[in-house]
Subunit: 139 residues, 3 copies
């Protein structure tokens, strides 16, 4: 049994930009040499989230409309009254989705469905490079 | 420390059908012989979710009404414009709930509350048999 | 590799009260002596949730308004018709947020962002003392 931690950087556009992490995850799992276990993907930061989705353009739009329906960008947020950084909606969306996702792997491959991809959602309002934590525990 | 992966199949009705996995989890944990650790339950597929709930008929209806309020089945989804499979709402509900749940166990029993059950939610729109991944890491 | 399980008690006010668990987590991680691994925080009970947030008063209000928008306290819930305990909204909010959060640690410190705190959300409707499970797996 081993714990192996890796980091992954992605330039994102923010505003709900969804980045498909599946190819990175597969490559990094291969590099660990582990065969059985789980990988926890974690966003260090309170304006990003992790989930899975069938990564196709229609659904990415549907997710954007979901976030807008649940926590509209133009609503008034107390966070903005305090900090005036205009990303109150980013924070509440991120807290709702959650910053952590654990995916099992078996025989060196993730147990994802064929049309299921792991996505990082950057809810913040400006482009930047975000660093994610990938932690593999297994054998 | 060991990693033990098991699979579980359930026939579901879809459309938000909530299946109580708690008895299966308890039985499978017993079969592993592990005493301390955590089990990650994972849905391979982008139209299912995992969470916990007090499994009683009233709350199962309340959850259905929640999904319908957050992502109505009759709204228009871009996913359906692309694929015409009519399950855009299934996908966004599943991404919102998330496909993964990790539950600790201690002395051979899960640390669930008395009125707290682990449920698989099948948001897709047709009955079928779904396979879930149960991965135990512990000693 | 070791599995170490600890418990944490907090008196909460209920009604969405958000408690910052970050200092407890840091202290308990230190006490385990583990350097690399992950901690799963789990709520035994179907009316609590776990996520991360920038823990400042404005955002705590924004989260309260989010829960109220998604699952209003004054709406009618089937759970209440059954049990008359008036906490139907607490249950559906908790199922939506989820009872489990896994956070990696590296070199004896959690991989949280600077303005990102782990919070326990007690959605139930009365003050009480809640017990949480913290399970560390690592080396």
């Amino acid at each position: 049994m081993a714990v192996i931690t890796r980091y992954l950087e992605h330039a994102t556009k923010g505003n709900g930009h969804a980045i498909d992490l599946t190819p990175d995850l597969a490559r990094m799992l291969r590099e660990t040499g582990l065969r059985h276990g789980a990988c926890t993907v974690f966003v260090p930061g309170a304006t990003g989230g992790l989930t899975t989705v069938e990564y196709e353009p229609g659904l990415l739009l549907d997710l954007q409309e979901l976030w807008e329906r649940l926590a509209p960008a133009r609503a008034t947020y107390h966070h903005d009254a305090t900090w005036h950084d205009g990303n109150g909606h980013s924070h509440v969306r991120a807290s709702l989705v959650g910053p952590s996702l654990t995916v099992p792997f078996v025989d060196g491959a993730f147990t994802l469905g064929t049309w299921q991809q792991v996505v990082f959602l950057d809810f913040d309002i400006r482009p930047r490079t975000r660093r994610l934590v990938l932690q593999f525990i297994g054998e």
